[in-house]
């Protein structure tokens, strides 16, 4: 079974740049070289490239009130199944996770240019983590590098993907969700709830199989979220998985939504 948490870091590369737009190219070059060295897919390289540019240019534009030169550090790390980029700056405190980056909509005149960069970061990255330390803002961007691994038995290993959209934590569960992984999945989701994820949407598109242990874990998570006045919903439930829900009598116990949008509305409370 593939581990659900990241393995110890295997490879890394770091750069320090000044807070000048012209320096962004150096970050792009670093990522380019790192990506080629480790044979990362075009998708992973592209997405991390966009996210890094958005974060670094935001820092350069907004993090400093003085005209002084500041140092921004970018560290790339490759673990077993994910590419991480940690960006550290000593500018004013800015947590992108609490800033709303609403899904763009409306006619030409209704659109404002602001917020699009952050929307890209949240849409393209599998996870975004932030903390504020003595030396400033620490933002970590995470992009999964592999699809579901195939174990010796020919069945897909369990994978979790995490993303945040408009205050909703979206967790993708793919592969098999059975007794061998149920505890770890439950612990991870519990951890997220504990650190504030009270609106949770599960994306089950990639789920191949779920056993009763998996169902009981989901029920427990649902209960945990509800004790914190939060909401849990599911979407992407395919025919096979739906059949398992029905067989186990679990269908009525969960908010199952037809699409991601319905799911987001359901956990935000804009739908019943």
């Amino acid at each position: 079974m593939a581990p659900l948490r990241t393995s110890p870091v295997m490879h890394s590369a770091e750069i320090r740049i000044a807070n000048q737009l012209a320096e962004i190219g150096k970050v792009a070059d670093l990522l380019d070289a790192f990506g080629r060295r480790h044979a990362l897919s075009e998708r992973v390289r592209h997405d991390m490239s966009i996210a890094l540019e958005e974060v670094v240019s935001n820092i350069i534009h907004h993090a400093y009130r003085d005209n002084a030169s500041h140092s921004i550090s970018v560290c790339l790390r490759l673990a077993a199944d994910e590419l991480q980029a940690e960006i550290v700056d000593d500018g004013t405190a800015f947590d992108p996770l609490v800033h709303d980056a609403p899904k763009p909509s409306g006619s030409l005149n209704e659109r404002t240019p602001g917020g699009l960069g952050l929307h890209f970061v949240k849409s393209l990255m599998d996870n975004v983590r932030y903390f504020r330390a003595e030396d400033g803002n620490h933002l970590t961007l995470v992009k999964r590098t592999a699809g579901p691994a195939v174990s010796a038995g020919g069945r897909s290993a369990t994978q979790l993907s995490e993303t945040i959209e408009n205050g909703v934590t979206i967790i993708g569960i793919s592969g098999r969700f059975d007794s061998t992984v149920a505890r770890e999945v439950r612990e991870r989701l519990s951890q997220l709830i504990g650190s504030g994820a009270h609106r949770m949407l599960l994306d089950l598109h990639g789920l191949e199989y779920i056993s009763s242990a998996g169902f009981w874990s989901l029920l427990a998570i649902g209960r945990e979220i509800e004790t914190r006045q939060g909401r849990l919903a599911l979407y992407g439930v395919g025919d096979e998985v739906k059949r398992l829900f029905d067989l186990g009598g679990f269908t009525g116990l969960f908010r199952i939504c037809p699409t991601r949008e319905f799911g987001l509305d359901a956990v935000r409370g804009s739908a019943s």
């Binding site: 012209a22 075009e42 540019e53 006619s107 030409l108 240019p113 960069g117 890209f120």
Partner: protein, 129 residues
């Protein structure tokens, strides 16, 4: 990023090559604004040789689209594919612009819109106030 202009009748096609990002978006905006200001009202922007466009590039497109609309011009985009298309979808920009697969089709659509007096700024007509 390289910017090359091609004329096709009354339509000016602007072909982009390279990255449209925070270091190049300003140059692109200046170039396109100048074209609109000089009265070249029928514009096609060709993204066939662009593999990367960040939010800076999208902001430029928004500014140029509004400028074109204010000048009663017509604007179409073409050659949007791959990762660029994916970002257009994520940014929900596909609804804002008239987008055709090839430069020839984009030029034809703009020229035709001009002939029939219809706005070419958006396929769904949503962009006009």
């Amino acid at each position: 990023m390289e910017i090359t202009e091609f004329k096709s009748g009354t339509v000016t096609a602007v072909a982009l090559k390279g990255r449209v990002d925070s270091s190049t978006a300003g140059t692109l905006k200046d170039r396109l604004s100048k074209l609109i200001e000089s009265g070249l009202a029928q514009l096609v922007i060709d993204f066939r040789d662009v593999a990367y466009i960040s939010s800076a590039g999208f902001r430029t497109l928004l500014i140029v689209a509004k400028q074109s609309a204010d000048a009663h011009g017509r604007l179409a985009l073409c050659g949007i594919a791959g990762e660029v298309k994916r970002l257009f979808d994520i940014a929900a920009f596909t609804d804002l612009f008239l987008i055709l697969p090839s430069r020839e089709e984009a030029i034809a659509a703009i020229a035709q819109a001009g002939a029939s007096g219809k706005s070419g700024a958006s396929a769904s007509g949503k962009s006009r106030t």
